[in-house]
Amino acid sequence: MKKIIGANELHQTMKLRQMGADIEVVHSRMCYVKFKINDIDLAYVYNINKKNEYFLERIKPYPLPLKAYKSEEDVVDVIAIDVEQFRNVCSSKNVNDFIEFLKQMKLTVNKFEDLILYYNVSKADINEFQDILSDLNKKIDQSKSESERLYFKKNPDFL
């Protein structure tokens, strides 16, 4: 198995180097972490390596990179908070709507990326997208000010 992985690595890195990439190969272990909260699957993936960089990503119920951490304790803490927050959310009757909405948001970001990578989008359209985004952010702020805060152990990262 190790041999095959080594051969695949050589095949890929040779192509990438010819494209001008600088590649550093680091031995690591991939950890898949799974929870089930009220029939909702919650899953994370992170890797452990000697460089003490832990790349944590939530993969279910919707994918979201959670950033790199310097120690595995940080990773466990972040997962613990995330799970706790999801437990709160899952007790809400709107949970499925939230998850569906966030999946749609992720799809919208992907569609927007495809749009700018594959098409020459006009300045007018981009301005219109910015207006829509600005309205959405205003709505989020408004909703925040009108809603009861449920979680206090940690402050929101972006809100």
Binding site: K3, I4, A7, L10, M14, Q18, I23
Partner: protein
Amino acid sequence: MTLDHIILGIAIFSITYLLIVTEKFNRVAVAMTGAALMMFLSVEAQEKAIEHIDFNTIGILIGMMIVVNITRKSGIFEYLAIKSVKAVDGKPWGILVLFLIITAVASALLDNVTTILLIAPITLVITDTLKLNPIPFLVPEILMANIGGTATLIGDPPNIMIGSATGITFMDFVINLGPVVIVIFIVTLFLFKLIYKGCYTCEEAARLEILSLDENLAIKDSKLLKKSVVVLGFTMLGFMVHGKLGLESATIAISGAAILLFISKLDPEEIFVEIEWNTIFFFVSLFVLVGGLEEVGALDYLADQLVHVTHGNIIVLTFIVLFVSAIASAFLDNIPFVATMIPLLSKLGAISGGDMTSVWWALSLGACLGGNGTLIGASANVIVSGMLDKKGYKLSFGQYMKVGFPLMLISVTISAVYLGVFYI
């Protein structure tokens, strides 16, 4: 030693061997269980089991794995491959010929599985760019890896075991098997031109694209490349003169590994992770298993019977060993086969009192070349088949055998003629 122990020893060995051959379970786990049972059931005392482990073979394997794993990090193989492509102006047949020369030479100096694992991914990049079917490139590479590995003591595990058990040196292998390997290489190369006629042409645009590859981008660490090449060179020199220096070949391999590990300044832990511990434990377990068979006297009995069948005639024995080991190695793992044959033939030599030189060459040629016969004959074949499968190309057992088996028979026949003319 009681009769119970004799029956037990033969039963443990036979069942273990059968389970390894059928490949229903992991071969290392099976071999380790068999070896443990030999000791646990007192067929073979632990002290005796340790005595049976050939630490010279283990030392060569570990030493060379370290050297190769450090060297490959430098990017030397990708560099050589791109240089070769440019040397033949991107023409597919020329690329194949140079790649086969690199494969055969590298396989003689490294081990053939490692060689295939280095050359096959590079070949896939080249055939992708040339928009050609990789099978007419990779099948010849498999065969040439096994052929090239036959030429030296370190080229293929059976040779490492034979050299270690008999005291045959690196240069003895090169001088005695080198010439026949070169002949087999040339004949096989010529036959590939006929077998895969029409498969080595590409479109002009693809040829120009392959010429745009930059060999300098392939070098990952130029300082490491220089250090690796120097140490690899001195290690090879050490192998050439180890007999004259009165040093075991494992001492050379381990010394090369230690020096390269020291001067490369790489983290030893990162390198040791790359060592194929599976292979190492498989060898250790096999030595213990065969040792158990030896302890109960089964090998003495078999050697007696073989002397009886061949009337102690070394000529007959040479040809039997050559063809039987070739056919056996085409379908079975040649490592356990050779591990069993070595003590058996040593005992036979002691009983008959004849010169066993030609028999050892026959065992080496048969076991190494036999692996070319089928898709499961050697690890290199299985690995390439898996890599092709992932790329969407199917190399079936029958498809491979149609090419590999006749070519294997031709190479073994050439070996038989060579042994007949020069050694009998």
